[in-house]
Each structure stands twice: as structure tokens, then as C-alpha cells.
Amino acid sequence: MSKSEPRIGVYVCHCGLNIGAVVDVAAVAQYAQTLPGVVVSRESTYTCSDNGQRSIQEDIENHNLSRVVVASCSPRMHGDTFMKTCETAGLNPYLFEMVNIREQCSWVHTDKEQATEKAKDLVRMAVAKVRLLEPLEKQKSAVNKAALVIGGGVAGIFSALYLANAGIKTYVVEKKPSIGGHMAQLDKTFPTLDCSLCILSPRMADIGKHENIELITYADIENISGYAGNFQVTVKSNPRYVIKENCRLCGVCAEKCPISLPDEFNMGLKKRKAVYIPFPQAVPNYYLIDAGHCLHITKGGCMLCQKNCPNDAIDFEETEAVRELNVGAIIVATGFELYDATQKKEYGYGRYPNVITNMDFERWVSADGPTHGKVVRPSDGAPPQRIGFIQCVGSRDEKEGAVYCSRICCMATVKQATMLREKYPSAEIYVYYTDMRTPGKGFEEFYQRGREHGIVFIRGKPGEIEEDDNHNLLIVSEDTDSGLILRNTLDLVVLACGLRPPEALEELAQKLHLSRSPDGFIMEAHPKLRPAETSISGVFLTGCVQFPKDIPDTVAQSGGAAAMAAALLTKDEIELEPVRAAVDEELCIGCGLCEENCDYGAIEVKKTEEGMKAQVIEVACQGCGVCAASCPQKAVTVRHFTDGQLLAQVTAALEPEVIV
């Protein structure tokens, strides 16, 4: 770069009326013209449009611009766009600076004069900084051609299969002993009433045997470090105390096991033993010992399973295994948690035996459920004749902390009601709803069919449920369509519980440095255009971890996430952001504070010929700048955010007369 006076082009955007309606764009552009080094200053209607970009490129060529400032929207929105514009015109993209006069000015201020003044200030600050910018070159880093899918539900299964089928080595990490997720627990799927496990289990089996897939179940993600193309993931698998190769699934161990426990897969409606298999179609398909309840492990002795196992498959010596995975991309597919209906005290779930959740219903109605598919009143086993479904339990309910709609419950209820109708043609079925939401292929038809089959839909959410001595349930509600007060005594009530982000998501989000939206789900890179990406390059999203969605949407999103991951992983190398720390070895005394403060291990003090000096490990550095702000010798700086640049901005903000 020549040391000559920079030649700066400033482009002030109207953004249609978005900016122009509040900020006097022409005045800002005129003002910019007066700033030192500014040789071109233009306004444009949409700087991001082809025309707008072309104008910049032409100026770079014709006016020999060495710096470009665009005052428009957020750099988080269009920063890349304009950097590419500059690059195409042969200007190093890091000689560009963006001023946000839309999101942080025109859209948030009403006083036109003040907003215009602010816009001028912001432009001046950017010009001050841009003068000090230096061209940066992107470095390249080799890509680890493997992917990690976190979560083994339908989202994870399909993502993994897409990737594996594209020839990419894929690790699937599931925290439960088997993959399958919530979908495996469902009896049928709407609106086709396909048998859920029938369509899922072949895919589960595919995962288990795919040559490109390595499945790690009953495992937790301990730590994640690195960056796109080069993540290091530490995975800890819990011991199952059963040797996979030896287990023949004979079940003798479970027979002999003295400990009986509620079976999670069946929502506690059935029992399992402390040595068990989660469900018959589980993948991987072999027994495991529930260490938290095993008599031998918790208290010692027992070992009936081991003594009786004909194949010596029980191994109490097994310990947790920690392994390090090197992957280039990560797909987060950790799904959802069902709303805990006991929170909704007024519906008495947990107290009234005949109040069940929609997921409980799935197990009651399932052929391998507690009653082999027969839906009964839990209190007395009698076939229910009057059944109610209550919608929006834990959804659209600010009191319960979820303003959002869980999207799938309406259809799930229609499905369940339809199934009930099939089993009990004479039963009275009531659905208490807020709004029926059926925006999907075949959904409305399915709903209408339900109505035709005599399912009564009542708009009005009951305030509470009361129980009589016979465990019959009393529901009073207002039909807001007719205004009538309805009193119903019901045999069984199904609560349509909403979907919640899993509790463990917070920790995982922190490990991955992912933002979460206020609803607690992971925030996508852009709500419209980048729904399967995150703010972290190389980390993708699919399924309900992003937001509640049904199975086809999930599978589609998995395809998207997989495609993007594959796009990254099929490259041999990726470009790294050059905004990184740099050390002035003259000043550095090797005190090591930067090394200690760096969470990425990206700066290390090393013995050099000139003594101990800090050195940046460029590929690991994320550019956060903590080291620069901490360095007691002020020997560390961050490119593109140097002290000089920040101070120039500060000065420009406060001393209009001084800019250089």
C-alpha cells in the first residue's frame, strides 16, 4: 500500500425511503465531500442494487479510489456484499468500511435534524477509521472433511444420511441410548396416518450400518473448539456396561434384574428393568444398564444379570470413553422438549389420573404401548366415551413463558382425535382450541375430515379442569363463537402440550457460541434467508432446535443443512477471516497474559531468539481482541480494529474539527 494520502469514496444510501425519509441523505453526502481524503461522495437510492454497486466499482477505477465507505444499513447485513464489490473492482475488501445509518439511525430516530447530524458523525467516524485501514489478505485453512450431527432424532438422522450419502464421513452424537428421538415414540403421523416407526426405523437402521456414519450414542458433547472447516469436538460416551458384540438380545438379564423402573420410552406408562433396551427397534440394538439405578453399581452386590447372561455380555468394568472428533462442519439437531404439563396446575395433570398429555396418548394408542393400542381411562381401565382435547397447553401462553405457537399441536390433535374416532365410533370427542392452524399440505383437508367424523371443535380454552369422586373430569368453557357456556363431564382429557427448547440447549449453545432467540431456540443466521445457518460459520441447524416444526419441514431443513455442510466440506480449503490479532515483538515481553486470556489457545508465548514472545496462531484466532485490550505492554493489536483505528473513531466522534 502506498503511503500517499488515501482517496476515499463515500456512498450514502437512501434505501428507498428507509433512510431518506428521516436522514437528509444529500446533506450527509455533501458533508462527506468536505472530509479530508474524500474524493467522491455520492448518494444512491439503493447502494446494494446492481446500479449502486456498479457505481462504486466505476469510481474505484475512474477515481482511483483507495478506500470506500458506504453509509447504509448494518454491516451485518450487507458488509459482505460491498466487500465483494470492492474486491471485484480490485480493491482489497478490508479497505472498506460501512456506516449503519439505517438500523441504528433512520429507523430509530424521528427527529430529522438530529438523525442527519448523527449520520454525519457516523460517516465522519468511518472516514477517520477508513484512512487507517490496511489491506488484509485472507488465509486459507485445510478443511476437515467430516461432519458432526448433534442429535439423533428425525432431524439428525436425515441430515446424517444426506451427508453420508454424499460421501462425507459423519459422526452422529445422541445423548440417549438409542437414536430415534420423539418421532420414534409417535404412533402415527399426520395427515397420512402413516405408522411413524414404520417409516423411521429403516432410516434408523441405515444410520447404524452406513459406512460413512459413525454413531456415538449415550454420549455428551464435552467441549467444542475451532472454527469452520476445523472443529475439535470432545465427546464423552457413558458406559452401557454391556458388550455390544456379545449381546444377543435374549433378555435374560432383564428377566433376572430385580429393579423395576418407569419406562421413559412409554412415558412411564410401562415398566422396564435397570438393564434394558429402550425400545425394540432401538439403534444401536443391544442392552444397557441404567447406572443410576443398578443395584450393583449403586450399592454393590447383585450382579444377577452378569451371572445369568449366557454370553458374558455384561461388563461392569466399562468406563466412560472420551474421544476427540475433528470435523469441518456441525449440524445441530437436538430437537425439543415437550412442555411439562404439571406446570399447568389448573389442568391437574399428574393429580387427575384421567388427564394425559398428547405424548402419553401416543403411547396409549400405540400397538406396543401399555394396553397394546387400546385407549382406556387410566383410572379404571374403562374405555372412554367422552374425550376432550385441550389445545395450546404451554403454547401461546405468556404466563407459561411461551408466546409462540408450537405449530404442530393442532394437527397432532386432529390426528389423535381421528384415531380415537376410528377406535370408538360412538365416543363424544371435543377439541377445545384457540385457533385451528392447519397451514400444510393436506392439513386443512384432514381437519375437515375430522369435523365430518363428528369431532366437536370448540373455540375456547377451558380455564380449569375439576375432578369428581369417580375421576370424571368436569370442564366448563365458553364457546367464543356462540358465546355459550359449556359444561362437560369427560372420561379422559388429552392436553396438547407445546414444544419447548431442551433444557440442555443453553449449555450447548454456549459451547458453540450460538445465540438464542427470546423463545430459547437457536437463532438462525437470518430468519428468512438463512434459516438453517447460524451466526457461526460452519455450524448449521435443523429441526425443532431452531423452532417447532413438523416432520416434513424438519426433513427438508435437514436436507438444507446437509447441503450447506456438504458445500463447505467438499472444499479442500476455506478462507479465514483475516481480522486477527498481531503482536509487535519489539514491545512484547512475553508476560503471557494474552495466552491466558485467550479462550481459543490462539496466542502462545514461545521462546524465540529474541526471548519469550507471544505469537498468534492465525488459524485459531477469532479476532475478538481481548488480548489487545489486555496486553499490559500494548504489544498486541487486532487488525481492522487497531487501537489507532478505534481512537480515530473516538476522536472523530467527539472532535469534528480533528479527523486525522
Binding site: R102, V108, R516, E596, C624, G625, V638, L654
Partner: protein, 246 residues
């Protein structure tokens, strides 16, 4: 004319700056006094830059980062917190109201909160009125933020308090605070002395009167400064001190 404060904001790219964007996308209105400087992480905000802002005439400085635990860079915001806590100490030495330096956690999803924070901070600074601090004091305080010892201690604070010291012993927060307070106080006096002496040479007694510090304290710090080759003594009655040219 009513006082309209000048506020410089340092927003981290991932949370607070995005929060500010969200406020814009949501068209939430807020006071126009803030000038945002985007940084990648709140941990990048060097106290030296903050003091420069005050020196250049900012009435308030607002630093915002991701919520604890949410830092895009793992723990940069914790570092920011330690740095700003130390900066508060330093500001109070220079007679600057600590409240003029705000530190807030604003997530990318908190557009409304961003606006609320900006409004209430602007309100607060408006109430505090224009910053009227002695330039010499600010200069001395700014030197503090460049001081090796202070920067080192602040940088080590988090690890020391959380993980204990090199001897494997826990470090009590109170002990650390006392040390940091001592260092900040001592260094402030030394910087003040140097700031004054840069203008003209003085005797210890004159320095004490100028700085309104007990003369024996001035003497103690002069000893230290002379040992550190920052000042030297000029023979005569009284003995005066000069800033060393080297």
C-alpha cells in the same frame, strides 16, 4: 439550549450491535445521542480507548456485550467486565462519576432492551450534566489505563479469582480488590506528579500543594519515580524534581 450529551458506544458485533440492528428493524425509537463504534467483542474495549473518549469530550461511554455465558468469544464479556470495573476505579480517581461509564449486556434478540438502555443511559448522562473534569486529571487517569501493572492485574483477575493463584491457593476477591485499589491509587498519584512536572519542575512541597496531597505522600512517590528513572532531582534549595528527558 438544553444539554444534549455526547455518548460513545462500543458494541460487540454479535450481540449488542445486532441488538441495535434489531431495534432498527423493529423501528423502536430511542435517543440520538449515542455514536456506536462496532467492535468484534466487548472484551476488545481497551480502558485506554474509554479514557480517550472522556478526554476528547465524551459525556458518557456505553460499553455493551453479550450476556454472561453467551459471549460469541466464550468469555470476552467477562474480561470486559473486569476491565470496566477497573476503569470505574480509575475514573473515580480523576473525579469522574463512575456512572458515566455504562456496561450493559444486550443480546442480539433484545432490540427493545437496547433502546431502553440507550434511553435510560442518555437520561442519566443528561442528568449528570456535561463532563467537567480537570484535563490534567483525565490525562493522569488515561496514563493509568496504559500502566503495565494495572493492565496485567486486571487481565489476570478472572483467572486468579476463579482458578486460584500459581501456588494453588484461592485468591480472595477482597485481597485482590485491595491490591488493585492500592495499585490504582499509587499509580494515579505518580501519573499526576508526572503530569504536573511535565509542565514545570517543582519541589515536593509545591507538588503537594498543587495536587492537594500530603507532602510526605508526594515524597514517597517521588522516591519511587526517581528510582524508576522517571524524574530526577535538581540540586538546590529546595530540591526540585524534573521529568527525566530519557
Amino acid at each position: 439550549m438544553t444539554f444534549s450529551p455526547r455518548i460513545v458506544g462500543f458494541m460487540c458485533n454479535w450481540c449488542s450491535y445486532a441488538g441495535a440492528d434489531l431495534a432498527g428493524i423493529s423501528r423502536i425509537k430511542y435517543a440520538p445521542n449515542l455514536r456506536i463504534i462496532r467492535v468484534l467483542c466487548s472484551g476488545r474495549v481497551d480502558p485506554y480507548v474509554v479514557l480517550t473518549a472522556f478526554q476528547k469530550g465524551a459525556d458518557g461511554v456505553l460499553v455493551a456485550g453479550c450476556h454472561p455465558g453467551d459471549c460469541h468469544y466464550i468469555s470476552g464479556n467477562y474480561q470486559a467486565e473486569k476491565k470496566m470495573k477497573a476503569t470505574w476505579k480509575i475514573l473515580s480517581k480523576a473525579g469522574i462519576d463512575q456512572e458515566r461509564l455504562g456496561l450493559e449486556w444486550i443480546s442480539a434478540a433484545e432490540g427493545q432492551r437496547f433502546a431502553d438502555v440507550v434511553n435510560s443511559f442518555t437520561q442519566l448522562i443528561t442528568e449528570l450534566g456535561p463532563l467537567q473534569a480537570d484535563p490534567q486529571k483525565i490525562a493522569s487517569a488515561k496514563e493509568e489505563t496504559a500502566d503495565f501493572r494495572i493492565r496485567w492485574l486486571v487481565g489476570r483477575e478472572k483467572d486468579l479469582l476463579e482458578e486460584g493463584n500459581v501456588f494453588g491457593e484461592p485468591v480472595e476477591e477482597a485481597v485482590f480488590e485491595t491490591l488493585l485499589d492500592d495499585v490504582v491509587s499509587a499509580q494515579y498519584i505518580r501519573n499526576s506528579i508526572l503530569t504536573v512536572l511535565k509542565e514545570q519542575s517543582m519541589s515536593a512541597k509545591e507538588l503537594a500543594e498543587t495536587l492537594e496531597i500530603p507532602s510526605h505522600v508526594v515524597v514517597e512517590h517521588l522516591i519511587h519515580l526517581r528510582r524508576g528513572q522517571k524524574v530526577h532531582m535538581v540540586e538546590g534549595h529546595p530540591i526540585r524534581y524534573e521529568v527525566s528527558a530519557w
